[in-house]
Symmetry: C2
Subunit: 412 residues, 2 copies
């Protein structure tokens, strides 16, 4: 007997027959005596269809209305799911973002959850009902519909699990769990039994798509155990939980990559306090995520600033960078871009206790003739920016070099 | 300068290009200095698509969730419309049933509006915005989504016009106004300049589809002037307003018909107080609209009860009638049905001052060899039930007999 939040993505609810499968799975937990809250995404393809409809109006539709439009996707799914469960003889009820009282800020399209008030959900659970909540959506203080951005349903699920003090948040997906790296790229990638929040965050930040990064931040903050598992089998997947001692014995847990990167270098920036803020302020205000930022040591009072953004944001970023650079006295000609770079990183909580991990990584890449453009590190991660066409070679080489295809040797 | 509610149906918003046309029309009123509230239906075909999706789950999906499902149709339209208007440089904002504070009872699928609280709409108008409200939907006291049933967007528009004390409620449709009869059936049918609420109600009750009957009731109760007009031309349509003296000089204003009727006769019902309630109670409780009810004079303490329902309700009606009849001691064999009847009626507020209208109607039908099965009358209407295959013949004959193709002679 417990309270479980189960989240199913768009592929799992792509049609009525799959929704039935989801309902059967949910009812197994229900009949096992658990209270179950189900968070659902839009049917596969539906969000894209709605986005395309909006863009048929204009290239940049007004954000508030885009949220009104795309949030219908999840609304359709929770209604259908609740109908299915009711038709199976168990009472179920759907709740939209505002009915489930998921309060967000007012940033349409990329809203953040600021509060979840669980009384309505709890009341429905206490009546013995299965509660289906629309993922991806909330409402702001003025009663406007907001959406959380791509992958937002994961965040909805974890936020609900935190607010409801659920025993576990199960994220059902089309893969069997979290792997040492992308199994589509490396056939002998191994499914991890468990991974710490911090490692998962680094993997998500590097581009592992299994969990949306904000959902992991939320889980980490509120210590919500996440169980990432397959919609199609009953076997256990990967638990994303607080780090424990056994995890720290593993030096490297995984290799992640992101091919969707572009690099911008602004040369000859005056090395003065406040310059970085003047360059990056407008860019991040516009919602663009600036990732790796490297500033060289100054020479003659000038420095070079290099950073990466996702490729789709390059054009807008460049326009803003040119504006900002002009304001700090840098000419356009001194802004260089490379639209085809990738980020590859190795992650492991054990890394902080072990020297030589970074140098083993650099040596491995060098042995394969891969040039490193930029490097960033954190306590539990080393990542590099490389030419995009070497991504697969780098990932495979690192996966092998750190022995990730084998059960971990507990070092230490 | 005034406040106008404009309602557009599904055909007018069937695709982005048509939504643009609607937006242009709305902006003409906006730039003329009016405050404009726009009520929109789902894009043509969308409600049917959603209903089909629900029925793919089960033949009778749970009503609450069906409303959650189908209400997405209007949500998509108001979002797209607001995007279009914004892209034209005028601020517009969409409001769903609960945001526009359209409060209904809890009868899912056929809810009635009980209150409209206009503060949010008025605030948006006062900011110079065009406000797009989702037709067809509201919410109940518990925050659940409800829908108003087929044609409910007309009711939304009139209810908003009443609450906002609008100068006029413009209902845009694919016909040019209200005609003396169905122009598809009678080519020389004439568009009416104006018609009284009561006449419009009788025409709608008889099957004229131009306005939803509840919207006319609402308009009549709150004296909201309705202007029924075409989405495709600028010419004036028909005003539906309180009756005036000029209307009373016209004996017959129109001929209406409804082919979708079925007749049920229960023979040998004991002629006792309360019998009718026991027969019709369960039927109307189930939401079936029972129309013409005729009870013969009793013989030997037994009487025959005859009534009509729409054809689609016949099977369910019959099952319930058999149950009820059994309970009052009538055998199944004494229940007769005729699934193929039609209702044809003549309507006119002038009728109450003129004798001989009914007999002229009966004579006309007799001259064309049409047998009358049932007759009902009101102060401003005479209608008959006839064999369905004579509908067109009857409508044409009556239209001609009462000279409806000609501008009315002001009698009296």
């Amino acid at each position: 007997m417990g309270l479980i939040v189960m989240k199913f993505g768009g592929t799992s609810v792509a049609n009525i027959s799959r929704i039935r499968n989801v309902a059967e799975r949910v009812l197994r937990s229900h009949f096992a005596g658990h209270q179950v809250v189900v968070v659902l995404s839009a049917m596969a393809g539906e969000t894209d269809r709605l986005l395309a409809l909006g863009r048929e109006v204009t290239a940049e539709p007004v954000a508030r209305e885009m949220d009104v439009l795309v949030s219908t996707g999840e609304q359709v799914t929770i209604a259908l799911f609740s109908m299915v469960v009711n038709s199976m003889g168990v009472s179920a009820c759907s709740l939209l973002g505002h009915q489930a009282k998921i309060v967000t800020d007012e940033v349409y399209g990329r809203a953040r959850i600021v509060d979840v008030e669980t009384s309505r959900i709890q009341a429905e659970l206490d009546r013995g009902r299965v509660v289906a909540v629309a993922g991806f959506q909330g409402w702001d203080d003025h009663g406007n519909i907001t959406t959380l951005g791509r992958g937002g349903s994961d965040t909805t699920a974890v936020a609900l699990a935190a607010a409801l003090k659920a025993d576990v948040c199960e994220i059902y997906t089309d893969v069997k769990g979290v792997y040492t790296t992308d199994p589509n790229m490396v056939p002998n990638a191994r499914k991890l039994e468990k991974i710490s929040y911090d490692e998962m965050l680094e993997m998500a930040a590097l581009g592992a798509k299994v969990l949306e990064i904000r959902s992991v931040e939320f889980a980490s903050k509120f210590k919500v155990p996440i169980h990432v598992r397959s919609s199609f089998t009953d076997e256990e997947g990967t638990f994303v939980i607080d780090k424990d001692i056994s995890m720290e014995r593993v030096v490297v847990s995984g290799v992640a990559y992101n091919k969707d990167q572009a690099q911008v270098t602004i040369k000859g920036v005056p090395d003065q306090p406040g310059i970085a803020a003047r360059i990056f302020g407008p860019i991040s205000d516009s919602g663009i995520v600036v990732d790796v930022i490297i500033q060289n040591t100054a020479e003659d009072g000038l420095t070079d600033v290099t950073f990466t953004v996702t490729r789709g944001d390059l054009e807008r970023t460049l326009a803003m960078a040119e504006d900002s650079a002009r304001n700090v006295g840098v000419h356009d000609s001194e802004i260089l871009t490379n639209p085809n770079v990738a980020k590859v990183g190795i992650i492991g909580v054990g890394m902080q206790n072990h020297a030589g991990v970074a140098s083993k990584m650099f040596r491995t890449l060098a042995e394969h003739g891969i040039n490193i453009i930029l490097i960033t590190t954190s306590e539990i991660k080393v990542s590099v920016i490389i030419d995009e066409r070497y991504t697969e070679l780098a990932v495979r080489a690192l996966h092998e070099a750190f022995g990730l295809d084998k059960e971990p040797v507990r070092e230490g």
